[in-house]
């Protein structure tokens, strides 16, 4: 064990939790103070049944299912000594009524009985009550088979009903709460788990109760209905089949589903997921993905996931997928060919290009793919580029959060700085976990030019103009240590406010500090100086090289960190790089589709007969249409691999469905090209690729598939047999992943340069800045029809003042003149947008890499 790790163990042991010992069903158990009885019982495997209680939410005690007998020791009022029975045991006083196990907190010497006749009867009676108005349509209910009401009725319920069937209360059975979630009001047992989740956990109180008594019903009051990025989670925690997703409606019975572990690659959080599949006659007997469920990983996503991750998997089984390699023939058309022919041609052309090879890989690829691709490029001496506009991967490798970090550990006494990020849009789970940390008492400093959803939780809010991201962080640093050299005007200006000074004080006094930077309004250059500034702040305050301290980059793609670690760097001028290429190898990226100027560059490559373009893709993208060779590949649900998330946790995803016949994984394709270039790369088993990575990339030396697949006991305890908690299983049997050690934790002192601080760019007119929206129009999102109405339209966002000046009505169509192109877009007007700026959402049809002057015409 290294010294750093030892320290960390000591630190964790320090705040000793006070343990309370009590007896539940004659078994003694010691649990931390403040634990409720249901949880304490769970620790020793005693099941106290619940409906409304959920360990991730505040107890309300309304379903009355958890009634138990609770007794407390009697104390002599005069002496304070416990009163003893004749046999010397302490005298226990039981309450006159049964207590709810979910609201009563443990106390020393308490005796809890869940087996007495009174309790058994109470459970039977509560279930009988619940079932009086339940439609009992289990045979067609999507929850049937994983339903707590079903399970608990079988276990504790009465065998028969005394309620007259004809007197049943009837309610609407098919109420769409928006187009994503359906409500069945007859099945609802009014446990309020969904409304409390939306309110307490994710702060989107868009559903609630209306009416009272037997007519109490869930309603939505947002437009569109149930407008939340988290709505799918309510269907998981619903203890009956009242809330179901449109995606899974009547899709399959739960027991027919096969489960495979996976990792979401839509954002850098890397939520652990379970892919449920079933063979389907409608799809010609193929195995198809029926639903995506969260898988418990208390380091990453706990038991939640966002709706994008849950629903945007349909691209993997899209009809549009490429199924065979294609080569451009004499007449200039793409023609199907054999792998042999295609790969031979590619290898030949690459060899000819030699160091003129430019590789551009997108970061939705796995580490194995990226490694092999990088190796091929390196062998020839070419340029290995990744498709990102965010810099700082090396910095995260150096001063990223330490091994053993968990955002759930942050709380009172700790500080979190979030810069240039609309966190819920960029990485929803990070937003959730930072919000929770702030609720636990961590000091939250949010620096952003406009209000975001995180603002309401911020202790200190710092405002700066777009372009001054690094300056804002340097202003904070300047207030902590005045030795900062080379202060720019922007830093001086931003240092003046009291808020900055207070925030700086809070940061300097924090026990732990985590800094997250995003990509709100930043291009590659500003991102680099922002990352530098954040690293400066962390090093100057000594918050590096330890668990729960360090830098997190909220990357724009799922595996950007992995791409950096594998040695792929972003291009400062992609168009120029592509133009200079003798051969271009584009993998999982679509520069031509993203950006008109890049499309020109690619066209130039294509038109030049000397030059050669290979596109390795899932779909026939704009770039692929221009390619000389198109190589089809497998989606991540069809193969194995690993992703490295923004906290540098490396995690395995497993195949869930078989791949199309003639399609291979990216790493295998790259290895096959390598073979023809006399380079030996692993091409069959991803674990072997990882072994090679471990040999080559020093940070990954400890990483192996075996270790990543290890699981640990997690709290709350969840298992597939669980009736306690929710039926729908989140159980994680396939591994927690492995967090990498940043260089600073290994004892290396980070090599840092002071951040190049730029002032805000000055323009006469409006300045367009790129921002991120969760529901963008990327090629992995659009194939999900369910989300189609919620996707961000091709649009720009203006401040009300600017809109008035330009006399633009809300949602009117406008012409956007940007970087020499003209696009029609919808004009949205939002109050928080600073005047003089136009927000341009990324990946919705307007290309913008860094802040640029823009002209908007009504």
């Amino acid at each position: 064990m290294t010294e750093a790790v030892e320290n960390q163990v000591e630190e964790q042991a320090q705040p000793e939790e006070k343990l309370v010992t009590l007896t539940i069903d004659n078994i003694e158990v010691s649990v931390p103070e403040g634990t409720v009885l249901v949880d304490a019982a769970k620790k020793i495997g005693v099941d106290i049944p619940v409906f409304c209680y959920h360990p991730k939410m505040e107890p309300v005690g309304m379903c009355r299912m958890c009634l138990v007998e609770v007794g407390r020791p009697v104390f002599d009022r005069a002496t304070g000594e416990p009163v003893l029975e004749e046999d010397g045991s302490p005298k226990i006083q039981f309450g006159p009524k049964l207590d709810t196990g979910c609201t009563v907190e443990v106390s020393e010497g308490m005796v809890v009985r869940g087996y007495t006749e009174e309790v058994v009867d109470a459970r039977k009676e509560v279930l009988e009550f619940l079932l009086t108005s339940h439609p009992l349509d289990c045979p067609i209910c999507d929850k049937g088979g994983e339903c707590p009401l079903q399970n608990l009725t079988m276990r504790y319920g009465p065998g028969t009903s005394r309620f007259i069937f004809d007197e049943k209360h009837h309610a609407a059975k098919h109420v769409p709460l928006g187009e994503i979630i359906y409500l069945d009001r007859e099945r609802c047992i009014q446990c309020a788990r969904c409304t409390r989740f939306q309110d307490e956990v994710v702060d989107d109180p868009v559903i609630g109760f209306s009416q009272r008594g037997r007519s109490l019903e869930i309603v939505t009051f947002s437009d569109p209905g149930f407008d939340s990025y988290w709505s799918g989670n309510t269907t998981d925690i619903c203890p009956v089949g009242a809330l179901t997703t449109a995606d899974f409606r009547f899709g399959a019975r739960p027991w027919e589903l096969k489960a495979s572990a996976s990792v979401c690659n839509h954002c850098p959080v890397g939520c652990n997921t379970t892919v449920n599949t079933r063979r389907e006659a409608k799809s010609g007997g193929e195995l198809v993905i029926k639903r995506m469920m969260p898988r418990q990983n208390e380091y990453i996503n706990e038991i939640w996931m966002c709706d994008k991750g849950r629903f945007a998997h349909h691209y993997t089984q899209s009809e549009e997928r490429l199924t065979q390699p294609m080569v451009r023939n004499e007449v200039g058309e793409l023609e199907a060919t054999s792998w042999e022919a295609a790969l031979d041609l590619v290898a030949e052309e690459f060899k000819a290009a030699s160091d003129g090879l430019v590789t551009l890989a997108g970061a939705r690829l796995s580490n194995e793919d990226l490694f092999n691709i990088q190796q091929v490029t390196e062998k020839l001496g070419g340029k290995a580029l990744q498709n990102t506009h965010m810099a700082g991967g090396e910095l995260v490798a150096s001063v990223g959060v330490g091994q053993g970090s968990n955002l759930s550990d942050l709380g009172e006494g700790d500080a979190i700085l979030v810069v240039a990020s609309d966190l819920e849009e960029e990485a929803p789970l990070y937003w959730l976990r930072i919000k929770q940390a702030s609720e636990r008492g961590a000091t939250l400093v949010v620096a952003n030019p406009r209000d975001t959803k995180l603002s309401s939780k911020a202790n200190y809010e710092l405002r700066y103009s777009y372009g001054e991201e690094a300056a804002a962080v340097m202003a904070l640093l300047g207030s902590i240590s005045p030795k900062t050299p080379g202060e720019s005007e922007a830093v001086k200006k931003l240092s003046r406010g009291q808020e900055v000074k207070d925030a700086a004080t809070a940061i300097s006094e924090a026990n732990n500090l985590v800094v997250l930077y995003g990509n709100e309004g930043t291009g590659l250059a500003t991102s680099q100086s922002l990352a530098d500034a954040c690293a400066n702040l962390l090093v100057a305050t000594g918050h590096v090289g330890k668990a729960n301290n360090g830098l997190i980059a909220v990357w724009d793609k799922g595996n950007t960190q992995g791409a950096y670690d594998m040695g792929l760097v972003p291009s400062e001028d992609l168009a120029a790089d592509l133009m200079s290429a003798k051969a271009a190898y584009i993998v999982a990226a679509d520069p031509a589709g993203d950006d008109a100027t890049l499309a020109e560059a690619i066209k130039a490559v294509e038109e030049d007969a000397e030059k050669f373009l290979v596109v390795q893709e899932l779909f026939l993208t704009e770039s692929a249409k221009l390619a000389d060779v198109v190589l089809p590949v497998q989606a991540n649900t069809e193969r194995q691999g690993t992703y490295t998330n923004a906290e540098r946790r490396v995690q395995i995803f497993y195949p869930a469905v078989p791949a199309p016949v003639n399609v291979h994984a990216d790493y295998a394709v790259a290895a096959n090209i390598a073979e023809r270039l006399d380079l030996k790369l692993q091409k069959v088993i991803p674990a072997q690729v990882m072994a090679q990575i471990a040999e080559t990339v020093s940070d990954y030396a400890e990483v192996s598939y075996t270790k990543m697949a290890e699981v640990e006991e997690q709290w709350p305890i969840i298992s597939s047999e669980d009736v306690f908690y929710g039926g729908t299983s989140y159980e994680n049997e396939q591994g927690m992943g492995q967090q990498l050690q940043p260089a600073s934790q290994g004892g290396e002192s980070p090599a840092l340069s002071f951040a190049q601080v730029a002032d805000a760019p000055k323009v006469d007119g409006l300045l367009a800045v790129p921002v991120t929206r969760l529901y963008d129009r990327g090629s992995t999102v659009v194939p999900t029809e369910l989300l189609s109405e919620r996707l961000t339209p091709t649009s720009v966002v203006l401040s009300p003042d600017d809109a008035e000046k330009l006399s633009i009505e809300p949602d009117a169509e406008v012409t956007v003149k940007l970087n020499g192109t003209e696009t029609k877009a919808q004009a949205r007007i939002e109050a928080g947008v600073p005047q003089g700026y136009v927000l341009v959402p990324r990946s919705v049809g307007i290309a913008l890499n860094s802040p640029s002057p823009v002209e908007i015409k009504a």
Binding site: P135, L136, D137, P139, I140, C141, G144, K173, H174, D184, E186, R249, F250, R253, W255, E256, E280, A281, K282
Partner: protein, 174 residues
């Protein structure tokens, strides 16, 4: 034994012929299958039938409990949602695919027991023969009973809102 002693030869012969004679007068136990078919017992478990209500709507709601109960994994069910323009069964969903692999089926009747709407019933048809494996898979169309007299075929168009229960009550629904 003396084979030439008629006293010892004739009586057994006569006994035998008498037995033969007696049998010619009896009703034959064999039948002229396939021209004639033997009736089966009331509880005979033959080929499955998917039942309909008197009005022609299908009883099956596609719950797949039969498939879950099947010890031979012979049943495959896939459900879809009923819409008023195209209604198969009175509830919210119906079986859009219903297949039984008769080569696997062991005619145990568990599917019958599991069915919450009495939609699948093992009938009295024992004439199951096929010339290849794929023929052994009986589809929904093959298993469904014909539409009873006075009923309408499925799918049919119905008045919107005339079916609002997720599971039909176990009588002939509207």
């Amino acid at each position: 034994m003396n084979l030439y002693n008629p006293l010892k030869v004739v009586p057994p012969l006569v006994t035998g012929l008498w037995t033969t004679f007696k049998s010619t007068l009896k009703k034959p136990v064999t039948i002229q299958y396939p021209e004639v078919k033997r009736p089966v017992r009331e509880r005979y478990k033959g080929r499955h039938e998917l039942k309909r209500y008197d009005n022609g709507l299908e009883k099956c709601i596609g719950c797949a409990l039969c498939a879950a109960a099947c010890p031979a994994d012979a049943i495959f069910v896939e459900a879809s949602e009923n819409i008023d323009e195209k209604r198969f069964s009175p509830g919210e969903r119906y079986a859009s695919t219903y297949e039984i692999n008769m080569l696997r089926c062991i005619f145990c009747g568990y599917c019958e027991d599991a069915c919450p709407t009495e939609a699948i019933v093992l009938g009295d048809n024992y004439e199951l023969s096929f010339t290849d494996r794929s023929q052994a898979i009986y589809t929904r169309e093959m298993l469904l009973d014909p539409v009873p007299a006075g009923g309408e075929p499925t799918p049919r168009e119905v008045e919107p809102g005339s079916f609002d229960r997720s599971i039909p009550e176990m009588k002939d629904p509207a």
